[in-house]
């Protein structure tokens, strides 16, 4: 006998049942190598699992190969059980067809090649009936869809979608959106985001195409649609005089008794929902309380498969079996909800910092009203997100961003599951299981006990409350325990600075050199380029002209903010134009005489300590800033190298209003880090970088230890996603924020 899909949930259970209860059978399995792990290794790993401990001597032949192009099969087969396949409901359309149609067709071709009388058992799904309602008989699904046409169409879609994704309309829309979001971080970052978005677009498009085509023909989704077409392939095969069984289980859940009660591998359909409910995160569900959810335990599934194998159908006439519970012993969403709720009321998840989660009460308001609530929630979230993007950065906006993102994740989770299960939750389907029941009754009493699969006798309360939900929550509880044992991370804890290895030889010390890059504005002190311009400019002006200058700058601020949002360097260029006509040596003198105290007073103490820690550890400290060089003069003793903007001067020493070279912002910061490290033979992976703004993303991304300092919202989100530490370095609270420190110091 040959099995496919043994690394899956059903396949594993089947393998276990055959090895323990059907001793005479000689087994081969078809396994795909995964990455560098060969099929044989995967099987060895599988057989090392605890449930196989009781199996004395597992002799399993391994056939390595992929279902889309299966290898020749062993010549001594009597039966083939095909249970491989993706159980994702929304695969990209081409993958759905490849797995569920091409895979079946190719496997059957190989079976025909052997020339033996092989019983082919095809594991399908009860839901191939699609959007029909009411009683579903154990027979072929009625439809007139031409398999070859659809298959050809489905397989062609990837190329078509790839083609469309590169069309001007799509690609320019994606690029504009990426540039809006990431433009400040530079065009290369935006380009990377565009390509990322295009790939996602292709995938989404393929998923959408599959789902739409399925619905247009009366199926719920691409999965059931392609599964139904797969059955047609099997039926065509049987029609040529072969033995074939089409076996359709409903929703398969944990085992009721073997290998042990509650045995389950990975999360299936209802588990994420059960867990989310236990965490208090599933406030509603679109089903009706009396709708049946057709679940069957996995041991019933595999036992009935074995029974089917023992009773091969006649040649040329495929047999159909449903393994379902809904017809004779239905479990409703109401029952499921009651049992899950009762279980979590008794055994809530480990209480977090804020005590156990409040369990939501479901009112089963019906699909339409759930959909309305979701839509409103999503709309509000989107508006809040847009507003947040416009809000100035502060601790409060960051905490809003955190709350909003959490809310967003929940909404996304809900949306995904509601969309996926909506059809199933609202499907009033009753799968007739007369054939299966007859098969069961034909078994001897001893076999009936060993191979139990009468779903009519299951006590759902015992199963759900006593077996299924506890086993599903067990790994989560273990994880919670582990998490509790682990030391809580201290917020704001920065990567440790390892001191340079002392006593190592010169060459080694050279190799292990480390640099730390710091941004200035917003990172080392709370300031911005307009503010620092005024510090310098107002220093040279008299009283009334000061007021005029402030008013003039105030009028320009909206324009500056706009250009800053678009691109950092254009802002710097605009502001630096204002320096035209100033004498560079005078700017230096103003800084030395009046601004040093102001700048040193504004430095965040934590930032200074961090810089000094780096120095103490023997690291090279580098200041990377778009600010003009005179302003960095007070910081000279802290840094080994300062990369600042140099104002261009004419031959008399007056600023021309241009820069000597383009300002170091966005992409060019990342490039600077790479080039500078190369020249200094320092590995960027060992380096640290500290910055505050989304436009510094390339700088942070260029090093191995990035730290976001009081980040703006986009950088905050990025840091969260990438698990970068976030530091909170504030300028001392008592320092006065003034536009005219020179005037104050002279007073």
């Amino acid at each position: 006998m040959l099995l496919t899909g043994v690394t899956g949930f059903v396949g594993e259970a089947l393998l276990h049942l055959l090895l323990t209860e059907v001793p005479g059978v000689r087994l081969s399995v078809l396994v795909r190598p995964k990455g560098s792990i060969s099929g044989a290794d995967r099987i060895a790993k599988l057989l090392a699992k605890p449930i196989f401990e009781t199996v004395a001597d597992a002799q399993v032949g391994v056939v390595e190969g992929d279902l889309s192009d299966p290898p020749p099969l062993p010549g001594d087969l009597d039966a083939v059980v095909h249970s491989a396949g993706d159980v994702s409901f929304d695969p990209p359309v081409d993958e759905g067809f490849t797995t569920n149609v091409v895979g079946v067709r190719e496997l059957l071709r190989r079976i025909e090649e052997t020339g033996r009388d092989i019983h082919y058992l095809h594991v399908s799904t009860a839901y191939v009936s699609g959007r029909r309602r009411g009683h579903i008989p154990e027979g072929p699904v009625e439809h007139a869809v031409d398999v070859d046409t659809e298959l050809a169409w489905g397989l062609a879609q990837r190329a078509a979608a790839e083609e469309r994704s590169r069309s001007v309309e799509v690609i320019s829309r994606l690029r504009k959106q990426a540039e809006r979001e990431h433009g400040r971080a530079g065009l290369i970052t935006a380009a990377a985001a565009t390509e990322e978005a295009r790939k996602k677009w292709v995938k989404d498009e393929l998923v959408r195409l599959g789902a739409e085509r399925a619905r247009s023909l009366g199926w719920t989704d691409c999965y059931t649609f392609t599964k139904a077409l797969g059955e047609r392939v099997v039926e065509a095969y049987a029609a040529t005089g072969h033995r074939a069984t089409i076996y359709r289980p409903a929703i398969i859940e944990s085992a009721i008794s073997r290998p042990h009660p509650g045995w389950i591998e990975g999360f299936k359909m209802a588990e994420p929902l059960i867990l989310a409910y236990g965490r208090g995160e599933l406030p509603l569900f679109p089903a009706a309380a009396d709708t049946a959810i057709d679940i069957v335990p996995v041991d019933h599934v595999v036992a009935s498969i074995v029974a089917c194998l023992a009773h091969p159908p006649a040649h040329g006439e495929p047999a159909y079996f449903h393994l379902a519970s809904g017809d004779r012993n239905p479990v409703t969403f109401g029952m499921l909800y009651e049992n899950v709720r009762a279980y979590f009321s008794k055994e809530p998840f480990a209480a977090g910092d804020r005590g156990a989660a409040r369990l939501p009460e479901w009112t089963f308001p019906g699909g339409a009203s759930v959909e309305r609530m979701m839509a409103t929630g999503e709309k509000v979230h989107k508006i809040a997100d847009t507003l947040l993007g416009l809000a100035p950065r502060s601790d409060r906006t960051r905490s809003w961003a955190r709350a909003l993102d959490r809310q967003g994740r929940r909404l996304k989770f809900l949306r995904r599951y509601l969309d996926l299960y909506k059809e199933y939750a609202q499907a009033d389907l009753r799968f007739v299981d007369a054939n299966t029941l007859a098969l069961y009754r034909s078994l001897s009493p001893a076999d009936q006990e060993t191979f139990a699969f009468d779903t009519g006798v299951i006590d759902w309360h015992d199963y759900l409350y006593g077996i299924h939900v506890p086993s599903v929550t067990k790994p989560v509880r273990e994880l919670d325990e582990l998490r509790k044992l682990r030391k809580k991370p201290v917020p704001g804890r920065l990567p440790r600075i390892a001191a340079g290895s002392e006593g190592s030889t010169g060459a080694e010390a050279e190799k292990s050199r480390v640099a730390a890059f710091f941004d200035l504005d917003g990172t080392l002190m709370s300031s911005n380029v307009i503010e620092t311009y005024l510090w310098l400019r107002l220093g040279e002006l008299s009283g009334t002209r000061k007021a005029a200058e402030i008013a003039r700058m105030a009028g320009k601020v909206p324009g500056y903010v706009w250009s800053d949002r678009a691109e950092r360097s254009s802002l710097l260029r605009t502001v630096y134009k204002e320096y035209a006509g100033a004498r560079l040596s005078e700017l230096d003198a103003i800084v030395d005489e009046h601004l040093t105290a102001h700048i040193l007073g504004r430095l965040a103490p934590d930032a200074v300590r961090r810089i000094r820690e780096h120095r103490a550890a023997g690291h090279v400290t580098v200041l990377v800033t778009g600010a003009i060089r005179p302003l960095t003069r007070p910081l000279l003793p802290l840094f080994d190298h300062i990369e600042a903007a140099d104002l261009a001067v004419d031959d008399r020493g007056f600023c021309t209003g241009h820069l000597a070279s383009s300002p170091l912002v966005g992409e060019s910061r990342g490039a600077f880090v790479r080039e500078w490290s190369r020249r200094e033979s320092i590995s960027p992976a060992d380096c640290f970088a500290y910055a505050d703004s989304h436009s510094d993303l390339p700088l942070l991304a260029a090093v191995g230890h990035p730290v976001a300092v009081r980040p703006d919202v986009p950088l905050f989100r990025h840091a969260k996603r990438s698990h970068w530490p976030i530091a909170d370095w504030g300028s001392p609270a008592h320092t006065t924020r003034t536009l005219d420190p020179v005037g104050r110091s002279a007073r």
């Binding site: 105290a597 504004r602 430095l603 965040a604 103490p605 200074v608 300590r609 000094r612 003793p637």
Partner: protein
């Protein structure tokens, strides 16, 4: 006639008493029987300040008149106390400026043209031009500062320090080279409290870290009982040894001044009056101030208080040889500040005000607040501390002002790194002092910016070594619990809670003494 200081015993007729706490104050009802120490009211001031200065310079103690000490072609150096004195800063004109003007006038008459003026700030922060100008006056500043002849002493300028030898106890004596190599060193002092002046002026004010560390350490400070009483202070003994050695090399002409007790100008002078004598107008002022302070943001309160200028008047000026001059000075200070207190008590209460010597135009960070209370006020005694050994000190200060990174950069690191490790003054010295004292970044900031020397927070902690050694518990009323805990103290919300907490150390009905300071007082505990 000046009313002497006295000790009030709180009874049922006593109104709530004023207690300073940082950028504000509260009216506290003390338990009956609490002793409250009030300083004497202001002594009469000299009728004509310029005349008094002239008189002192012409008739010095144990020295020739200043005029006689000067000759053409000589090197004359004038040193003066920095902005840590007096507190708060004096209304212009500052007494030091008026003295320096007269010294310069005499020098000009005698044909002295090699004159330099140095702010004797030891390891304090450099003063800004504005601060310097305020002390020496516009005219002196204009004539000397631009040429670089009026400047801050730099204790880290190796090329400008002179090692003058060692005392018989092996202490290095190293001071400003210009001062050490002058033909005459005139020192202009403000003797606000008894610890100032004497050999401390030149011996510490113009010294380097190498020299200062011999007496500024935990061991010496524990044995300075108190440092307001130079004859019983180890620190002063060391400074005296150094001063005598300096005197062998350079002629020092010491000018010491003493002030009255007019700490605050109008309208804040009400805060200096005894509470039961407040007029309706005084009561209205206090009420208005409290209401105003309650709603004012911290920045505004900081500005309100730090813009205050004192109304100090000159009670006396003496010039001549250091030691006899200082004897007379101390007598006058005692006359102004000494109050007789009968016996020690179990608990001592102190209100720490917004200002100490080291946060002029800056912020009172927790370390400075601790130093102000447990260093200065606690040590403001003669004979024995106000509180018995093992007793409890209750201090008022919110400990919430944070650190000024411009003026106190090393304090932030001291707080985060040293105090997090240990708060024992005897341990921090050997473990951390060297590292802070020689840190190039701190040295850079001390020399070029307006920062206290890197080692300065250690000195603050050494100042309180005697108190920590003597006391059984320290409780801050209204203090930020985090800051208090970091320094090894406890905090309470109210005096009642603080006394409740203290009861485990001193029992349920302890004797309590409250030092009503400011104005400055010196408790003479019999």
């Amino acid at each position: 006639m000046t009313r002497p200081g006295f000790v009030l015993e709180v009874d049922d007729r006593t109104p709530p008493l004023l207690v300073h706490e940082g950028l504000g104050f509260r009216l506290e009802e003390f338990p009956q029987g609490t002793r409250v120490v009030y300083p004497p009211e202001s002594l009469p001031t000299v009728p004509d300040v310029d005349e008094a200065i002239r008189e002192a310079l012409d008739n010095p103690v144990d020295a020739e008149p200043l005029r006689e000490l000067m000759f053409p072609g000589m090197r004359l150096t004038i040193a003066f106390d920095d902005l840590s004195l007096p507190l708060p800063t004096m209304k212009a004109p500052d007494i030091r400026g008026r003295i320096i003007e007269q010294v310069l006038t005499i020098a000009a008459e005698k044909g002295v043209d090699d004159v330099e003026i140095i702010a004797a700030l030891a390891l304090h922060r450099r003063m800004t031009d504005a601060e310097m100008k305020h002390i020496v006056g516009e005219r002196v500043f204009r004539s000397f500062a631009p040429q670089g002849l009026l400047y801050n002493h730099d204790a880290e300028d190796r090329s400008n320090l002179e090692h003058m030898g060692m005392t018989d106890k092996g202490e290095d004596v190293e001071i400003n080279k210009r001062a050490a190599t002058s033909d005459l060193l005139v020192y202009v002092n403000v003797n606000l409290v008894a610890m100032d002046g004497g050999h401390k002026s030149v011996g510490i004010g113009l010294a380097s870290y190498k020299s200062i560390k011999h007496h500024h350490n935990a061991k010496t400070m524990v044995h300075s009982r108190s440092f307001m009483d130079h004859k019983h202070s180890e620190m002063h003994s060391s400074a005296w040894r150094m001063g005598r050695l300096i005197g062998e090399h350079v002629k020092v002409f010491q000018i010491e001044t003493t002030l009255d007790n007019e700490v605050f100008g109008k309208p804040y002078d009400t805060l200096l009056k005894r509470e039961w004598e407040w007029s309706l107008r005084d009561q209205a002022t206090v009420l208005g101030l409290r209401r105003g302070l309650a709603v004012a943001p911290q920045k505004l309160r900081h500005k309100m208080f730090h813009d205050l200028r004192s109304n100090y008047g000159l009670t006396g000026i003496t010039a001549g040889a250091v030691e006899p001059v200082h004897e007379l000075t101390v007598q006058r200070v005692h006359q102004q500040q000494r109050v007789k207190v009968e016996g020690q008590s179990d608990v001592m209460v102190m209100g720490v005000p917004y200002l100490g010597p080291y946060n002029v135009n800056s912020t009172m960070n927790p370390i400075l607040a601790a130093c102000m209370g447990l260093g200065y006020y606690f040590n403001s005694y003669l004979r024995q501390p106000v509180v018995r050994e093992g007793g409890v000190a209750i201090l008022y200060h919110p400990l919430d002002e944070g650190f000024n990174t411009l003026t106190h950069p090393s304090y932030v690191d001291f707080y985060e790194e040293v105090l997090a490790d240990t708060t024992d003054p005897a341990l921090i010295g050997p473990k951390f002092e060297e590292q802070f004292a020689t840190d190039p970044w701190y040295v850079h900031l001390y020399r070029t910016s307006n920062a206290y020397h890197g080692v300065h927070p250690f000195y603050m902690w050494y100042w309180i070594a005697h108190a920590l050694d003597h006391l059984g518990d320290v409780i801050w009323v209204g203090g930020n619990p985090k800051a208090a805990a970091r320094m090894g103290f406890r905090s309470a919300t109210t005096l009642r809670d603080a006394l409740e907490m203290a009861s485990s150390t001193v029992g349920p009905s302890p004797s309590i003494t409250y030092l009503r300071n400011p104005p400055h007082l010196l408790a003479d505990v019999r």
